[in-house]
């Protein structure tokens, strides 16, 4: 009984994580501007990673693999906002304006 509940819960978490990752990937490809693309990619970096890793962690149970997955999750949750901040700061310093309407790429009009 407990096995079935854990399996179903982990399946739900894994499929939700897959959907989040896919939505973030499509958004990072289709969004018109650098900062909106960054917003779409951040969804996959935090929510998708957390859901997928939690789902796999439920499958692993209380083992060393689960502890390693927790370390990966903690590390990703610390580093991906830091990388996003560094990227936005560098882009802003390079002169890319955070204006979704006018500063859209020429490849895709606003």
């Amino acid at each position: 009984m407990m096995e079935i509940v854990l399996n179903v819960l982990s399946w739900i978490l894994l499929s939700a994580g897959g959907v989040f990752v896919l939505i973030g990937g499509i958004g990072a490809l289709r969004m018109p501007n650098l900062y909106t693309r960054m917003h779409a990619a951040s969804v996959t970096d935090t929510m998708g990673a957390a859901l997928v890793l939690l789902g796999v962690m439920l499958q692993a149970g209380l083992t060393l693999a689960s502890i390693k997955l927790g370390a990966i999750l903690l590390f990703l949750l610390i580093t991906s906002p830091t990388a996003s901040y560094a990227l936005a700061s560098a882009a802003l310093l390079a002169g890319i304006k955070p204006d979704a309407g006018r500063a859209a790429d020429e490849t895709r009009g606003p």
Binding site: V19, G24, L34, A90
Partner: protein, 101 residues
């Protein structure tokens, strides 16, 4: 069930590669490569359980560390270059959103 997540991750990695190839500025490429690295970590940890070999988790952990350090190094390189260019142009010539290719 692992297969669905693996396929979703692979499709997302392909989309990130497309953005890295066609990204207009260099920051789009860095963003796409960072996203690709994160998805690689997730793919490793799913494949570790798909194939029943938990050793892959060590690879995922090492790859997460290397990815973060690499992205920060590349960003620091481009940021110092942009700062140098701004300092050379002076204060009286405002830039109008022209980023390097």
């Amino acid at each position: 069930m692992y297969y669905a997540v693996t396929i979703a991750l692979l499709v997302t990695m392909a989309l990130a590669l497309a953005r890295a190839l066609m990204g207009p500025t260099v920051y789009d490429r860095v963003l796409a490569v960072n996203m690709f690295g994160t998805k690689t970590v997730l793919l490793f940890s799913v494949i570790a359980f798909l194939s029943g070999r938990p050793d892959f988790l060590d690879l995922a952990l090492a790859y997460a560390l290397i990815n973060f350090i690499g992205v920060l190094a590349v960003l620091e390189f481009f940021r110092s270059r942009a700062a140098k260019r701004v300092a050379e142009e002076g204060e009286n010539s405002p830039r109008d959103g022209a980023a390097e290719r």
